[in-house]
Subunit: 169 residues, 2 copies
DNA sequence: GCGCAGTGATTCAAGTTTTAAACAATACCT
DNA sequence: AGGTATTGTTTAAAACTTGAATCACTGCGC
């Protein structure tokens, strides 16, 4: 099948996307590393727990929420536990299961660091977007998420006219 | 200063952004790992070189283009050189400098793998966006990129009314 | 009740990548 | 020439990710 290369507009958008996500991820990681001594993923774990009922979640649910493997989560939580921000508890209803629980210390860390983090996000993103753009961003990202999660094969391809190709970053 | 927390709409957009970027990065990495035996960053190096005049770039320029440290680039190029897709050459005009050059083999790899990669991007993203959304995405990502690169301190903060806080992922 | 496939989570062993700091060589400026 | 800044690599350590193997437990079908 003929490759359906990106149009010029799509290429511009894609390049823009790559730059933005890469820069933003770096900026956030640097800031969190400095303020909290942990990368973004680890902060996200604490953040998720802080919003869960009783500040606790099943490992699998947490992994699911963060879209990461259980193995990866186990490793991460092990470190957070060593830091004292998370505690593991057995699950009462299913003795195979484990709950990750945010400790008071973890909550304190979160509250201490959150302002700086929010400020990073705001400064890098939301301070510069109109309310319409915020809505567009949510819509577009939601679409992407759904497309990937449904393993959607996309519009079955009619062959498009050939275009100058680029290897798309 | 009072923290300027995210509004509900901003929070939704942010959560959506986090999910989408994380899933997409994973999907792309998995696909490229399978097809080309390398992560996205390495593919991007080849792709950038393929578009450069004479298929070559100074190490520093390449690092700059990809927004990564020189150290990281050195490591990556060392691996690509071992794979045979990139070659290093001294820089004629500056004897401190080095050029990374895409080999024929590298170009061949790129041409072999690009269709699958483009297909991933298309399936996950562009097949599901309207032309307007493509434009919006470019616009929004461009704004983010500029905000971060200019180290923009954002709108100097008047204190906003307090809102229920979230630690923003 | 028993056996067994399936689930929840961890462990282990590699392997990869990242970072930070130190370094060597060269260029640039005065 | 002399001092400073750049270029790019090296080094060692640490952090992270992966995948396969494993263990404990559940829940279903018989």
């Amino acid at each position: 099948m003929t490759t359906r290369w990106l149009s010029a507009a799509e290429q511009r958008a894609w390049r823009s996307y790559i730059s933005a996500t890469s820069l933003l991820a770096d900026a956030i990681d640097r800031r969190l590393q400095a303020e909290a001594g942990m990368p973004h993923l680890y902060y996200s774990i604490l953040s998720r727990l802080s919003e869960a009922p009783d500040r606790r979640l099943r490992m699998t649910d947490l992994a699911e929420a963060l879209k990461i493997t259980r193995s990866r989560l186990t490793y991460a939580v092990a470190r957070l536990e060593k830091d004292g921000t998370v505690r593991r508890e057995g699950c009462p209803t299913d003795r195979r299961g484990h709950m990750a629980v945010l400790t008071d210390e973890g909550m304190a860390l979160l509250e201490r660091v959150a302002p700086a983090h929010v400020e990073t996000v705001r400064t890098a993103v939301f301070d510069h977007l109109t309310p319409e753009q915020v809505g567009q961003l949510e819509e577009i990202c939601g679409t992407i998420t759904r497309a990937i999660q449904s393993g959607d094969p996309g519009t079955p391809g009619e062959d498009l006219p050939w275009r100058r190709r680029s290897c798309s970053s």
